[in-house]
């Protein structure tokens, strides 16, 4: 079977069938659910764990889970965490070192197991763009990351078109959403949630052969023309309701021409250099490496874990950290994300998901910072 633009309808009442098919095919399903008053992505055992009837209210430094008037399952903006934690684990053992009785050393790789087969359920267009960015970071160029590569190859993507936009979303500015686009960011299946007087159902489209095979196992019917139109209208409306916007015109040049702008000091006065923004950003990829030794001295392990350009140790060299001031660290983050990333990886490092704005404890908003940096 090959992917086609034929769209089918799966009733809400049969969504569990999708889980069953995925489970039968050996996939663990990672998708949104409610925990501790927020929507997070976790492993889901059944469709009953989806955040039915929940939405979110996102603003600078503020996230509130709230009830929706309907029973939508994907009626929120983006979850707290991004998919990167499954492709680029927070902590990863790189190697074990053992001391042989004769004193020589033996090394064994720490990440040899086959990665689990994962189905990402509900990945949004901005998130697919973030994955595409990390694909370029980890798989592009001469040196590739085998840990990312094998996890990435084991992932099935069931994307969702956004029917709701969040208060901190600006994918339209970044040209990364809200509608998924097979040509730009491949997916296996895309779904659009329809909830109107004709019922609660999902418009499904296969984006790959694997997706088409799965669709073939689901109790679907062909979509009507009006259902296809309804889905189009829904996403178009989302595009018109972005909570934020960012003017990207000549942005790299503008930022790099303003490295001494007084605004950097002002934002540094507010910035806690807490690193939350980099932890939640779906494209930030930096790590540090830590060695641990066992008491006997006969065994050591080398671990990789997420790091952040907001941490002092990130630039520590002989003589101390290179970026000592909070100002230099915030400037590094913003100019890398929005300016030098273009040179390095051929695109912006920001997909407009808004997480860094919502989850910054003091609500620092990069779209606002860019506006300020643009004015003299």
């Amino acid at each position: 079977m090959t992917p086609s633009s034929v769209q089918s309808i799966l009733e809400r009442s049969r969504l569990q069938d999708l889980f069953d098919v995925l489970h039968r095919r050996g996939y663990a399903v990672i998708g949104p659910t409610v925990r501790d008053r927020a929507i997070v992505c976790e492993e889901l055992r059944s469709a009953a764990e989806l955040p039915e009837g929940w939405g979110d209210l996102q603003e600078g430094g503020s996230y509130r889970l709230q009830r929706r008037p309907d029973k939508a399952l994907f009626g929120f903006a983006v979850p707290t965490n991004s998919w990167k934690e499954w492709l680029h684990p927070k902590r990863l053992k790189l190697l074990d070192a053992h001391r042989n009785p004769d004193g020589s050393l033996r090394f064994t790789p720490g990440d040899e197991d086959d990665p689990p087969k994962l189905a990402f359920l509900g990945a949004r267009s901005c998130e697919l763009h973030a994955i595409a960015i990390q694909d370029r970071v980890f798989l592009g160029g001469a040196f590739t990351d085998p840990h990312y590569a094998k996890r990435r190859a084991a992932v099935l993507i069931i994307a969702t078109n956004c029917g709701t936009s969040g208060g901190t979303c600006f994918c339209v500015s970044m040209n990364t959403g809200p509608k998924v686009n097979r040509e730009r960011t491949p997916f296996d299946i895309a779904l659009t949630e329809l909830l109107d007087e004709s019922g609660h159902r999902f418009l499904l489209e296969a984006g790959s052969e694997a997706g088409a095979v799965i669709l073939g196992e689901l109790p679907v019917r062909a979509a009507t023309e009006s259902e296809v139109t309804a889905a189009e209208t829904l996403v178009a409306n989302t595009a018109n309701r972005m909570g934020r916007s960012l003017d990207t015109h000549r942005l790299p040049e503008t930022l790099l021409a303003n490295l001494e702008h007084p605004r950097w000091k002002e934002v540094a006065d507010r910035c806690l250099n807490c690193a939350n923004c980099t932890m939640v950003c779906p494209t930030c990829f930096c790590t540090t490496v830590e060695d641990v030794t066992h008491l006997t001295g006969d065994h050591a392990e080398r671990w990789r874990r997420w790091d952040s350009c907001f941490n002092l140790d990130f630039t520590r060299m002989h003589g101390g950290p290179a970026r000592q001031s909070g100002q230099s660290r915030y400037r590094q983050w913003l100019t890398h994300k929005l300016a030098t990333w273009h040179e390095q990886f051929g695109s912006s490092g920001c997909v407009g998901c808004g997480r860094c704005i919502s989850w910054c404890p003091v609500g620092i908003d990069l779209t606002e910072e860019v506006r300020a940096l643009r004015s003299p």
């Binding site: 503020s62 941490n311 002092l312």
Partner: protein, 256 residues
């Protein structure tokens, strides 16, 4: 005679909780005692080996003239001196006295205050002698304590990061209580090490590990105000177990 490094544990003004962390390393304590000679550890054994010691772990703050003298002796007998816990690294909760008149307090608390021979302040060990490494926390994290001992044994830098609690919070997968619940949290200015326990139970961070590297306490205090915290609450938050650590002390003074 044993060729193992000699370890000594010393107590000053403190609750003993930090040294108990060493005994609490149930699974590892035997291996520790294989790797080092526990030469002086009153919580574990009455047997005391004479100095000098290769590694001294010091718990507690300096609150009496006798303490001030004794810590110099400890330093003189120790090749490496590591302070453990908020008392030894920042003066502890008892450093609240530093903001008051001690003789006045003693007269209220003790029936015969003339027997109390105390300094006007409770101060960290580093105010008195050179310290080779400070392990933070109230109490310290036992895994970090083991890491520090191990790093010492293997002559490497301990893997103890001075970044924010927020980093640990995100690595643990917690939902941020500050942004999602509106709960004031000290995590963004607090030194990592606890593993973000309180936010994992939907509580704001209490700052047990003291100030992180480059803490922006003023910006955090401003955000606490926005979330509805009063000046008194902000003052008390900064002035607790680590209330005499520079950054927390200075911030607390702004809210008096």
């Amino acid at each position: 005679m044993s060729t193992q490094p000699k370890l000594a544990v010393w107590k000053f003004a403190s609750c003993d909780g930090c040294q108990l962390s060493l005994l609490d390393c149930e699974d590892e304590i035997l291996a520790v005692s294989d790797a080092v000679q526990i030469a002086n550890f009153a919580e574990a054994t009455r047997h005391v080996e004479p100095g000098p010691y290769d590694l001294s772990l010091v718990e507690g703050s300096i609150t009496t003239p006798h303490d001030a003298e004794r810590i110099r002796e400890v330093r003189a007998q120790s090749r490496h001196l590591i302070t453990i816990g908020a008392c030894a690294t920042a003066g502890g909760i008892q450093a609240l006295r530093n903001y008051r008149d001690v003789s006045e307090m003693a007269s209220v608390v003790y029936a015969s205050p003339q027997y109390i021979d105390t300094l006007a302040t409770s101060t960290p060990v580093s105010d008195h002698v050179k310290v080779d490494f400070e392990l933070r926390g109230c109490p310290i994290n036992k895994h970090q304590l083991l890491e520090v001992i191990l790093a010492f044994l293997h002559r490497r830098k301990p893997v103890v990061s001075s970044e924010s609690v927020c980093v640990e919070c995100k690595l643990r997968g917690n939902i941020c209580v500050m942004t999602a619940h509106g709960t004031p949290c000290l995590g963004p200015v607090t030194h990592a090490g606890c593993g973000a326990i309180c936010p994992a139970y939907n509580r704001g961070c209490y700052g047990c590990f003291g100030p992180k590297e480059t803490p922006n306490t003023a910006a955090l205090a401003a955000q606490w105000k926005t979330l509805g915290a009063s000046s008194g609450e902000i003052l008390r938050a900064f002035r607790s177990f680590n209330g005499y650590a520079d950054a927390f002390r200075e911030e607390s003074l702004k809210h008096e």
